[in-house]
């Protein structure tokens, strides 16, 4: 049969560079895939492809979490237009107080980067959530979609392995005494 599911000689995994972003590494992906291959023990190319899809979904879940966390940073509470207008307003008000000899400090506050355990940042995070609601709504949905894809891929892999195991069982024979 052409679709012999026990054939292991034609396994081809997709080049990970096709679906990795700049902040993701090929080595990390291959390590994750290697662990999954060791855990789930695929026996043929169909099962290996299924494990690959599980690894891709895994990666997508983490990616969506990372993106959501970026959109919830306090620095993301303002869009570029709002930042430009706020900078201009700040400089105008400083100039009206101190005159034209104003030096430095007018360029707005530098982004302090992610800080953890800062409980006072909740209101700024809530503002960032409100300002980026559209994007966040999409990424939460993308995360739940990736989780569903992962669940379904695992289910299908288990089904494939079950079919393979049952094929190895010889047909029952009627014994007449």
């Amino acid at each position: 049969m052409p679709n012999d599911v026990d054939d292991v000689s034609h396994a081809e995994l997709t080049d990970p560079r096709r679906f990795l972003l700049r902040d993701e590494s090929v080595e990390d992906y291959e390590f994750r895939l290697g662990q999954l291959l060791a855990d789930l023990r695929p026996a043929n190319s169909l099962e290996r492809r299924q494990v690959e899809l599980i690894a891709q979904a895994d990666l997508d879940i983490e990616r969506q979490r990372r993106i959501i966390s970026v959109y919830l940073q306090p620095a993301k509470a303002d869009g570029p237009t709002k930042r430009a207008v706020a900078g201009w307003r700040h400089e105008t008000s400083m100039r009206s107080k101190h005159g034209d000899d104003l030096d430095g400090g007018a360029g707005g506050e530098a982004d302090p980067g992610p800080v953890f355990g800062d409980f006072g940042a909740t209101s700024a995070i809530a503002s960032a959530y409100g300002a980026n609601f559209g994007m966040l709504e999409f990424h939460y949905r993308a995360q739940s979609d990736a989780e569903r894809r992962r669940r379904m891929s695992i289910g299908l892999l288990l089904q494939l392995q079950d079919w393979r195991a049952r094929r190895a069982v010889p047909d029952a024979q009627v014994v007449e005494e």
């Binding site: 049969m1 052409p2 679709n3 012999d4 599911v5 054939d7 000689s9 034609h10 396994a11 081809e12 997709t14 096709r18 679906f19 990795l20 972003l21 700049r22 190319s45 169909l46 492809r49 891709q56 997508d60 990616r63 993106i67 869009g79 570029p80 237009t81 709002k82 430009a84 207008v85 900078g87 201009w88 400089e91 559209g134 994007m135 709504e137 999409f138 949905r141 993308a142 979609d145 894809r149 379904m152 299908l156 494939l160 079919w163 049952r166 094929r167």
Partner: protein, 136 residues
């Protein structure tokens, strides 16, 4: 087409060009269908990932830079500045909506590609598997 051929070769061990008219039985057709769906899934996944990096359009950012220049220009009337700010906000809002819509569309393509591929896989396996054929 190359991607379909590679998946087909992976599934059947044969090149697509080698299949003659007489060889197109149910299993071979199912293999071709699955290979096509696998290639679609790869493309949809790559597209979905490439859309994740999509941020605000560079032209919009350039426009916001120009807005800054306009705001700092003392010769410009304040009404003009106010109108420019209002329009910049509208463009930015439209741009974000456009990015979200692109991402959403890519996610939908991916979900469709995945479900069609899973269906093709079930058919492909069932045609070569007497147990699941009996279950169906």
């Amino acid at each position: 087409m190359d991607a379909v051929g590679a998946h087909f070769r992976g599934l059947t061990g044969r090149r697509l060009e080698e299949i003659g008219d007489a060889d197109w039985d149910g299993a071979t057709r199912a293999a071709l269908e699955l290979a096509t769906r696998e290639a679609h899934l790869d493309r949809a996944h790559a597209h979905h990932v490439s859309c994740q990096a999509t941020e605000i359009d560079p032209d919009t950012l350039a426009m916001i830079d120009q807005l800054e220049d306009l705001l700092y220009c003392d010769d410009t009337l304040s009404d003009t500045k106010r109108e420019a700010i209002r329009r910049a906000f509208r463009v930015e809002k439209f741009d974000v909506a456009h990015v979200v819509s692109r991402k959403r569309l890519a996610l939908r393509y991916l979900a469709e590609a995945q479900s069609k591929r899973d269906r093709a896989l079930r058919v492909f396996v069932a045609l070569g598997d007497p147990i699941s054929r009996n279950e169906g």
